[in-house]
């Protein structure tokens, strides 16, 4: 039998019971759409976290209080205030480090005129600008003099600026943070928001001012340090650890009461997590494809037994086992193919919907589209084989007499 005939016969068979065909298709569509959308969402999540980590800058070491696991993720974040200004001073003597900046972060009420806004307020030093590679959209960063002499000056992130000032320029305006007046001297350029955290929604003020007038004490949330270059990262990290252990008076055998992480360790930890995430999402999607495949098999078995007399008739007219096999395999492959195509479209649309909801772009990788398409057709073929073989192997006489 020629190919066009085989296809025609398959479509005729599928048109036989349109509702049933549609329901079978639905199983495959859901499976394929799940593969495309979930893999896309997984990739989007990974990309979002990756861009945050890359936002750290390549040579940056992040030192936080508390112990760590090997992965570089802190277990119990500093119950004791283990990082202080004196640690910063000790680290500034390390010549493996280009710059060191202490940092305290808190949330505070910020007032401008009648606008009252809660945001993240970060006390830091001008060195942070080079370490974190911050660029300014307007104005300037506060200078060393202001930083060291109780300067009431602030640099504002674009999101915080928009919320406080609307379309006005923030530079030169006075804002009130916890009842203290600060002059805004600069506005940060947007780093772009990635996922849940927004680096643009913050206000930077001098560390010393913050400790002396807002919080009290000399403990730090984070110390940022930058190595001289990316080659000396490992050496710089060892140096930092040695210096801090000495500064904290830790004896041999005592574990660190701080954690040093850098972009490379974070990225490798992330790639583990994101791999697990992808496998997990892929697994869920794969299971739904499997269920769709079983649906095809079920329907094809019903179809074959319903059409037993037709099979007998076709054999009496000269159909070989091969052409009967081909007829039913084509039917289930067409379901897989059609379901695959519709599923890909539904998956892409769904992924965009999820992306809009999460306010990130969900990438659709061509490979996930191809793979799920091929898998859908393969599922149709594989799960169609058994029913089709049963049809093909029937004795023509028994098939004709079947009721």
């Amino acid at each position: 039998m020629r190919l066009n005939r085989i296809l025609r016969t398959a479509f005729l068979g599928l048109g036989h019971n349109p509702l049933r065909t549609a329901l079978t298709l639905l199983g495959i569509i859901i499976g394929v759409a799940a593969v495309v959308a979930l893999l896309g969402v997984g990739q989007a999540a990974t990309a979002s976290v990756t861009s945050q980590i890359q936002g750290l800058g390549t040579n940056v070491l992040v030192i936080s209080p508390g112990q760590s696991t090997e992965n570089g993720f802190s277990q119990g974040l500093g119950s004791s205030a283990s990082l202080t200004d004196s640690d910063v001073k000790a680290l500034q003597k390390d010549n493996a480090l280009a710059a060191v900046a202490g940092d305290v972060t808190t949330r505070a009420q910020v007032v401008y005129g009648s606008v009252n806004y809660q945001t993240q307020v970060e006390g830091t030093t001008p060195d942070i600008q080079t370490i974190r590679n911050l660029s300014l959209a307007a104005g300037r960063f506060f200078n060393t003099v202001e930083a060291n002499h109780d300067g009431y000056v602030a640099v504002i992130g674009p999101t915080a600026a928009e919320n406080l000032f609307g379309t006005q320029s923030p530079v030169g305006k006075t804002i009130w943070i916890d009842g203290l007046a600060f002059e805004v001297v600069g506005e940060l350029a947007s780093e772009g928001s990635s996922g849940a955290t927004n680096n643009d929604d913050r206000i930077l003020i001098p560390l010393q001012t913050m400790q002396a007038h807002l919080l009290g004490g000399d403990s730090l949330t984070t110390i940022y340090a930058s190595a001289r270059d990316s080659q000396s990262m490992t050496q710089a990290q060892l140096q930092v650890e040695a210096t801090l252990r000495q500064a904290h008076g830790l004896r041999f055998g005592e574990s660190d009461d701080f954690t040093v992480t850098n972009q490379a360790t974070l990225l490798s930890a992330l790639s583990n997590v994101s791999h697990t995430l992808q496998v997990f999402l892929g697994g869920i999607a794969g299971i739904s494809l499997l269920v769709g495949g079983i649906g095809i098999m079920n329907i094809m078995l019903v179809t074959v037994s319903e059409r037993t007399r037709e099979i007998g008739l076709r054999k009496s007219l000269g159909a070989t086992q091969g052409s009967i096999l081909g007829q039913f395999l084509t039917e289930s492959a067409v379901v897989g193919l059609l379901g695959g195509c519709i599923g890909i479209v539904v998956g892409i649309v769904g992924a965009q919907g999820i992306g809009r909801f999460l306010q990130t772009s969900v990438p659709i990788s061509p490979s996930s589209v191809w793979i799920s398409f091929v898998v859908a057709v393969a599922v149709g073929l594989v799960f169609g084989v058994y029913p089709a073989l049963r049809a093909a192997r029937m004795s023509p006489m028994n098939a004709l007499r079947y009721e």
Partner: protein, 240 residues
């Protein structure tokens, strides 16, 4: 020359722990151009015999030869080819594909023979015309839009479209009224006149009398095998 030969053919069916002997050691030969009726009471083994002749079933013992080719040694592919090229089937319940036009139904054996669509449909139209169905008027009708007699004509067109060596018909008039029965029997007679070999299974003497040889079967055995002497046309057939 024999178109069909059965040599010591037996067929047993196992039902539960019982076995039914549907055909017992039958030897029978049908020559080209013959018009044979196989008659016998219900359950005597007529249909089984026809299925064996048409290679739709395999004998328990014995040999079936179609056009001098021994079938038991053949593979599925060659069996399918023999059914396609040498044998045409007509069934009691017509067995047309539903939701498929008359022309396409008739063209089916040609498609299995590897014909392209247009030549197959052209040949199918010719066959329809031959059995008295106007291909332009009724060719695109689906089976459920045709009368029983018309459906059986379409089925006969399908049986002859590939110019087979023999047409095997199992109770072809079983579902038809007397007028349609006469039409169909007349069609068989005229096809036979043109040289088509016909084997017709029936339990009605009236139908059998249209044939030129009557093989009667009882309990799976051939009880008699006689030529029909037509004195004045088929209706007046008398057993010799």
């Amino acid at each position: 020359m024999a178109v069909l030969r059965l040599e010591h053919v037996s067929k047993r069916y196992g039902v539960g722990d019982q076995t039914v002997q549907a055909v017992r050691d039958v030897t029978l030969s049908i020559d080209a151009g013959e018009f044979v009726a196989i008659v016998g009471p219900s359950g005597s083994g007529k249909s089984t015999l026809m299925h064996l002749m048409g290679l739709l079933d395999v004998p328990s013992t014995g040999h079936v030869l179609v056009d001098n080719v021994e079938a038991s040694s053949l593979r599925d592919k060659d069996l399918a080819r023999l059914r396609n090229e040498k044998i045409g089937f007509v069934f009691q319940n017509f067995n047309l594909l539903p939701r498929t036009s008359a022309v396409e139904n008739v063209a089916l054996p040609l498609f299995y023979a590897g014909y392209r669509t247009q030549p197959a449909l052209a040949k199918a139209r010719e066959a329809l015309a031959r059995v008295g169905i106007d291909p332009h008027l009724r060719g695109h009708h689906h089976p459920n839009q045709l009368s029983g007699g018309q459906q059986q004509r379409v089925a006969i067109a399908r049986a002859i479209v590939n110019q087979p060596r023999v047409v095997l018909a199992d109770e072809p008039t079983g579902n038809l009224d007397s007028q349609a029965t006469d039409d169909i029997l007349g069609l068989f007679a005229s096809l036979n006149q043109e040289g088509t070999t016909i084997v017709l299974v029936t339990h009605e003497d009236y139908v059998a009398r249209h044939a030129r040889r009557i093989v009667s079967v009882r309990d799976g055995l051939i009880a008699s095998d006689e030529a029909v002497v037509h004195s004045a046309g088929p209706q007046a057939g008398v057993e010799a």
